[in-house]
Amino acid sequence: MDKSTQTEIFFGPNHPGVPGNYGIIYEFEGDTVTSAKANAGHLHRGFEKLMEERLWIKNTALVPRICVEEPDINEMVYAMGFEAIGEIEVPRRADYIRSIILELARIQGHIFSIGGNAAGIGQYTVMHWGTLTRDYILDIFEEITGARVYHIYIRPGGVRQDIEDETFDKILDLMDELENERFPDLEKTLFENPNAQKRWQGKAVITKEEAVEMGATGPVLRANGVPHDLRKMMPYAAYDDVEFEVPTYENGDAWDRIKIARDDMLQSIKIIRQLIQNIPDGPVQTDLGNGLKYKIPKGDAYVKIESKRGEYGYYMVSDGGLKPYRVHVRGASTPLGLYGVREFLPGTRIADVPVWAKSLGICPPEFDR
């Protein structure tokens, strides 16, 4: 190999083409990637170890930070793990509220990442729109939970506070606005844009076999025609009470993955409407006693939910004490973020690197934990 044509580039951790605080070390031959290596470790947050040192309740404020883009899934799996080991029943209303929160989180996560993907191909207008649309959902979160990004709202035993009826009305109004105004705009500007289509179609292909081999789920698998969705396969919260479809495509490329994000949002709107229409009355929290003394029996559980990027799970172990003995985070993007880039990126041209990196849905804290 001619060394004069070879370049090594440290891509990230602060670069618009990299999702989050993480780097990829590329070697290029000309403008073609010859090797790519994930470079994690820029976060140094050590969530898993921190959790072992904190009371069960304290961790509810820590876990959402594992994924900025989609914090609520962490709150949910943490609560589910606690409830599974402790055999704690959750009030049905709380199940509904949890599902509403998770679907709102899914929409804001998707719209944010569609914006990010668009920015990766130079469509900055869509990125701004995505951020703006997300903000309207964050307004709803602020009203329900008191915070915009880190909600600390889903708790072992239920949710922190009830949702008022007027907030439900606001959610429904926003869903109408998304469906009738903002998504059509997005459709026209991005999805019908021939440039965007050209940049994404046939790029960053991950086949079904590769996805399965890698342990990638969510849009990566669904873009290969596999309707893999934990909400359907093993329903949690209130998902067994709602009707929705699992969007799938056949080509396994970046374009299909982005379309799945779009279609997923429409399904989420459908789910939210059903949930709000059918939400039962009742309590939203099981009384677990003094928050400083939460104690569950010895035991372990692996709990998982469908995040916008695929299967998201915690393996939790309790030794019967006041703190978790061990919490292991199975991040949806861990396989692709750490190993997928090494596997798939070589051979890609430099201009397509952001297409790859962004469409994989990588969230670095999931493996930098």
């Binding site: 009203e143 880190y150 009830d162 026209k188 021939p194 374009w255 309590p283 003094n290």
Partner: protein
Amino acid sequence: MANDKKSIFSPVTAFKNLVKKPETVRYPAESNDAAKRYRGFHINDLEECIGCSTCQEVCVNDAISMVEMLDVPAEEGQRNERPQIDYGRCCWCGLCVDVCTTGSLEMSRDYSYIDLDPDTFIVTPDQHDINKVDHPLGYLRDENSDLLDLKRIDIEMLDPEARVDSFIEIVEGFSKEQAEKEASRCVECEICTDTCPANMNIPQYIRGIFDEELEESVQQIYEDNPLPEVCGRVCTHKCEGVCAISHRGEAVSIRWLKRYAVDNVDSADYKKILGTEKIEQNNKKIAVVGAGPAGLSAAHYLSVMGYQITVYEDKENAGGMMRYGIPEYRLPYDALDKDINYIKSLGVDFVFNTRVGEDITLDELHEQYDAVFAATGLHNGRSTRVPGTDNNNVYQAVNLLADIARGKEVPVTKNLVVIGGGNVAMDIARSMARLQMEKYGEVNITVTSLETEDIMPADQEEIEEAREEGIVFKPGRGPKEIEVNEDGSLAQLCTNCCVSVFDEEMNFNPTFDDSDIENYECDMVIEAIGQGGDNSYIDDQFEIEYAGPRIKINDFSQTSVDWLFAGGDIARGPDVINAIRTGHDAAVGIDKYLNDEL
């Protein structure tokens, strides 16, 4: 791909936004108010806050530290510390608000603060947040988000019908599940420790119960209290009065938890648990006068230090007022004996039926021993001295209670009046109710007191239980005269209305209204208005300093005579736990005194 709609004109639709009103809020020129529940900067009602530090305990980022504030009240049940928040660490999770024991800590809707000096981000919030201006309230705790367990576990008790005809213990105690659940309610703030006269390690022994390590609990209890079976039943439990949980809910049942811990550990294991199987002796001898709670406490702590203790007691058994004053239905003799037998097992000698001052003088004790601890208590009942009190049918409560304890026959008539509003009055009224029930099948007892019910010194639960047992209360009445029939039997107790018990300086100085007279028919009157002591065994030989009616002692229970230490009711009242404290202080003081450190 062919099915994806595309048109080069589609993106052009974005230009419509050129004529739309911008959606961005130009803060701060345009206000962007936060939502009603917004978790903004903290505000804290410094008057309401008790400095319990539970917020610090729950803070996930160690952003909260407690800082001393001298200008806030530090009354009983409070600390003059208030939370200080480091906004460089805070993540606005609001768990501190959810766990606040008093509800003083809240959040405003304020979300913006700018300063170039990083130190200004560390603030002690008061009624204003970091910006020192008023903002609407933001996130508030509600019943769902509340992290405290406000409801106490009810303790099993005998029904009034089941208990009023016997001296069986009323309170049945906690089961394991109940005790652990109740123990889980504690937030371990130690406000109770500060208030307990003996400063017991309360959160620590409660934690032992929660952790199912009762041996740890027993160790923690014996650090400051060698009579836990007693205090687990009859302590005046000041701790519960200040319990942080009691500000928004019901206090933790500290007293019953202590009882649970010691009831469920075999006394045969005590020596092993407490490390007293082998105590190294130092060959110094101490005399303890009086085998009440103070004397037993001193004897215990001195003997574990290696001193040889001899306890002189004029009665035939140890326990003092715990045995001869407190009725069996509140404190069974088995429980009392469990505590006393452990102290005996440490090698403490008891000399019963020996009255210091008569059988042996204090001076002789001084000659034979290295130091003396006197705790002879208050055993002489006081009389109201109203006309008629010299009648044979007028009795002193303490004498009757002692006779009941000894199993002696006591006079029981059909229609009784008890004068007094303290716990002794409750004890005798309820004991006599049981005897009346046994003898006549009904209860006919009236309790009169100078104090109205809100200021009666008796425990509220004692009053309630007495009432459940059929005792009638006539509070706010002053005894005027006991009318006697010609044949010498009693006719009635005449009372007038007691307008006030204390004067403006809070001295005991009752005033009466003679226009409001009530008479209570009775054939027996029992006076329970307080007791006095007999310190002549000291006074006859030594000139000792007094502080009011009680012997003056320092922090180590030392009197003005350096080898003589005093405790219990003759030095500091009014209850068992104070007596235990003075005994413990004396043990430490005697050790210092004999090592020339005092």
